[in-house]
Amino acid sequence: MEKQKYLDDLHEIKSIMDRSSRFISLSGMSGIVAGCLGLIGAYVAYEMVYSGQNYLGYRQALLSNENISQLLIIAVALLLSAVGAGLFFTQRKASKNNQKLWDSQAKRLLINLFIPLAAGGILCVILLFKGLIGLLAPLTLLFYGLALVNASKYTLSEVRSLGLIQIILGLLACQFIGYGLLFWAIGFGVLHIVYGIAMYIKYGS
């Protein structure tokens, strides 16, 4: 009897600590949607960068100025739709859990996510204009992974391992630089979908 009470206490302590310090309304659906958009983006970029080249021979990533601005527009549009979908599904889950979408936990999560992400984003734009496009895919993966690891303290603990895998993919992509887009598609596309499905199953919609 006594024991049960203390077990309940421990359970309660853990639940309150989680609820008050972590943002747990993150929806698996937003991961799945972001992953699909990532795959679409990778495909479009692939078509643009490698268009008109022999499939079997050596291929070079070609980017004209016109292509760069098109690619940037597509990237921004996909990013905005992914964030929009993420917000939509997370809002739905938060209201189901009787939690607010925007509270101090969400704020802390976003601030910690955006510090490495913004640094990486700015670096990538600089590199893009210096013509070092080969580094873009590895570096976006790397900084995204670092951002996830940094933010994982404030949300579901699975985000940490997702971040670690992204970092590894980023480093691999740096080594095998010709396959950057492939790694990018795995990291931003396939992994998001896999994690999204896993979270969906574990925590519900």
């Binding site: 421990l10 309660e12 302590i13 008050s20």
Partner: protein, 96 residues
């Protein structure tokens, strides 16, 4: 057994006080309203338990104004954190 029970803290026997301390262990500071919605309790109930924890110097209170509205923040003191950790350790020992 006696040794163990000594570390179990009467102050944390109550569910709400336990909840307040749990939240303040992982957050630097929390205001009244966030504690209230987190623990799902009434104003009066929460105020009573906050007062009692303050009296035992387990939490400290900081009053300030945000845009001219009074805002009270609660923080766990070093003493409170230590007592809470001892309490949890005692529970864990007891359950072994």
């Amino acid at each position: 057994m006696k040794e163990l029970l000594k570390d179990l803290n009467k102050a944390f026997e109550n569910k709400i006080r336990l909840g307040i301390m749990s939240a303040l262990m992982v957050n630097d500071a929390m205001d009244f309203n966030s504690l209230k919605s987190l623990l799902d309790v009434t104003d009066g109930n929460l105020a009573t338990h906050l007062k009692s924890l303050e009296t035992s110097t387990y939490i400290s209170v900081q009053k300030e104004f945000i845009e001219r509205k009074p805002n009270t923040k609660y923080m766990a003191t070093a003493e409170g954190k230590e007592a809470f950790v001892r309490h949890i350790k005692a529970i864990e020992q007891l359950l072994k």
